[in-house]
């Protein structure tokens, strides 16, 4: 079935058809129009490739991409696919090289992605090889445009993308600059393969409502509660979102009352090692939670003193990899590094406040698959207008995600909210 704008039951995206999570034709269009479309995708960190020739493998959607630093220090990114037979040119996750050579027939590319050499190009003893008309210049690796915000490298495969800073918009740009306000050090990576459609995870990071209900550890041990001062802030197009909360901003008694009503146990246990949830303020602002989702698939995360950047990597309709880069700052004292290693327990596939997402997404994906002609309900914080909220029991930013999704996929209905 060809999906059109008629698929939406409501013009405010408060109803999303399950078909959009389970249709292989939709998946193909997402790769073409979203991931390879006019969006900026987070690729990696400047700090991961400090020297000339350093490279890392990453993905834009399900397209394999390599980014590297050339001899002059400039950054390049290109699709990791040989112009000859379509093989991966670079097979290692990371390393240092002066050139990239495909193992199949040893076609060789420079650090700027240009094709530099073809073995036996003129044949042997005048026989064989490529014809004289073959244009080396037209057979480089497919390049991405790259730009960065304080060392977070973004790439786009489209010629039509807005400038990166315009694409992000003022609030998101400010949040990224805040999180990356000094040189960073990568502390490690974690990966999780969840048997669910990638959009369920993109929604999850914009869903303020679920946090303290699904992740009971948050309230059980008093790390984060919906009674704190917090909310959601979006860019003008509502495609990105910052979910934020301020430390020590709620009242104990009011919190206990609110959660008693919600049948969630709160603060009835204490940790033997409270360092795990102790927030050490690192800058003037009081934020102890800032989860910034950049459309379509990048998430910049501060949960207490655990800092991370996540890439949402689709692996077909039914699976997504969450690839997470954990970092600290280059000037962290040893004690702070240790604190971050301890607070890394909060996030990732075994995270005390994140492991539940893997299960929630899988059960949502599993049960909605046979029901593709029905739809989900997105109405916390009210339906209708998509706008910022200064409270936490809301999932409005999910509707912002779907609005821009619909536009890029070419299925935005007439008169829809934006």
């Amino acid at each position: 079935m060809m999906v059109t704008a008629a698929i939406w039951p409501a013009l405010d995206y408060s109803r999303v058809p399950y078909r959009l999570y389970h249709d292989s034709e939709i998946y193909r269009r997402e790769q073409e129009r979203i991931f390879q479309g006019p969006v900026w995708n987070y690729l990696g960190l400047d700090a991961e490739i400090p020297n000339s020739g350093d490279f890392r493998m990453t993905y834009v959607g399900d397209t394999p991409v390599v980014f590297n630093r050339d001899e002059a220090g400039a950054m390049h990114a290109f699709v990791n696919r040989c112009a000859h037979r379509g093989a991966l040119v670079r097979r290692e996750i990371s390393g240092n090289a002066r050139e990239h050579t495909c193992l199949y027939h040893q076609w060789c590319y420079g650090l700027d992605g240009r094709l530099t050499a073809i073995p036996f190009r003129r044949g042997i003893r005048g026989k064989g090889g490529m014809g004289p008309e073959f244009d080396m210049g037209a057979h480089g690796l497919r390049k991405l445009h790259v730009d960065n915000v304080n060392g977070a490298i973004f790439g786009t495969l489209s010629e039509d993308a807005e400038p990166l800073e315009t694409y992000l918009g003022a609030p998101v740009l400010a949040q990224l600059k805040r999180l990356l306000d000094r040189p960073v050090t990568v502390l490690g990576y974690n990966r999780q393969r969840v048997k669910a459609n990638w959009k369920l995870y993109a929604e999850n990071t914009r869903d303020n409502y679920h946090a303290s209900l699904l992740h009971e550890f948050l309230v059980t041990f008093g790390l984060d509660r919906s009674t704190q001062v917090g909310g959601v802030t979006m860019d003008a197009r509502h495609r990105h979102n910052i979910t934020w909360a301020e430390a020590d901003s709620d009242d104990e008694e009011a919190a206990q009352q609110a959660y008693a009503g919600a049948r969630v146990r709160s603060n009835y246990l204490s940790l033997q090692e409270p360092d795990l949830v102790t927030f050490r303020r690192e800058r003037a602002d009081p934020l102890n939670l800032a989860v910034t989702s950049v459309f379509p698939s990048s998430v910049f995360v501060q949960i207490s003193n655990s800092l991370a950047i996540r890439q949402i990597r689709p692996r077909g309709i039914d699976e997504v990899e969450i690839f997470q880069t954990m970092f600290g700052y280059a000037d962290d004292p040893a004690d702070m590094v240790h604190h971050r290693l301890r607070q890394a327990n909060l996030v990732g596939p075994a995270g005390l406040v994140s492991m539940e997402d893997g299960e929630a997404l899988e059960v949502a994906h599993k049960a909605s698959k046979p029901e593709i002609d029905t739809h989900t309900v997105i109405e916390l914080g009210g339906a209708g207008e998509i706008s910022d909220r200064d409270y936490r029991v809301t999932d409005v930013p999910l509707r912002g995600f779907w609005s821009y999704y619909a536009e890029l996929l070419g299925i935005e209905p007439e008169g829809a909210v934006r």
């Binding site: 490690g188 990576y189 990966r191 393969r193 550890f217 059980t220 246990l269 290693l341 005390l352």
Partner: protein, 155 residues
């Protein structure tokens, strides 16, 4: 320290059996009073990067982790089956023994489907405490660092 291979093998057998039976408090009894437990992705170990998936560098943190598992965390409903390979004595000194053992953990879901969940290598520092061998330091080096679904019950 005298290496008693029988005692080392028994310790690993108990380790897997107690986890698979969901006897987490008994499992904790296999650790020494001061201990460390961490699950480290092989990707990070190879790159010399320190971030672990689970990092409990004190007994208090390990106890907190189990408490959270039992009281707060929600995860896929499943049973575990540890297959632990032959332990290799990597070294010993006056205070303890360094032992390595390969492992695999299979998970079985509520409908009886079994899948390989994790493969890896245990790197343990064992000491004698209260007349028996105890785990002072356990590094779970995780080959399967693209974790399927989620990691809740200890490896």
């Amino acid at each position: 320290m005298t290496v008693d291979r029988g005692a080392v093998t028994d310790l690993f057998a108990e380790y897997g059996a107690r986890l698979d039976a969901g006897r987490y408090d008994d499992w904790l009894g296999l650790f020494s009073a001061e201990c460390r437990y961490q699950v480290l992705p092989r990707e990070n170990a190879d790159a010399g990067l320190p971030v672990a998936l689970i990092f409990c560098d004190s007994r208090a943190m390990l106890e907190d982790r189990l408490r959270a598992l039992q009281e707060a965390n929600k995860y896929n409903l499943h049973t575990d089956r540890h297959l632990i390979g032959l332990p290799r004595i990597a070294g010993d000194d006056a205070a303890g023994i360094d032992v390595e053992a390969p492992f695999a953990v299979f998970q079985t879901d509520q409908e009886g489907g079994t899948t390989l969940f994790a493969a890896g290598l245990y790197r343990d520092r064992l000491v004698t405490e209260h007349g028996g061998l105890r785990i002072r330091d356990k590094l779970v080096l995780l080959d399967t660092f693209a974790v399927p679904s989620l990691l809740a019950t200890p490896l």
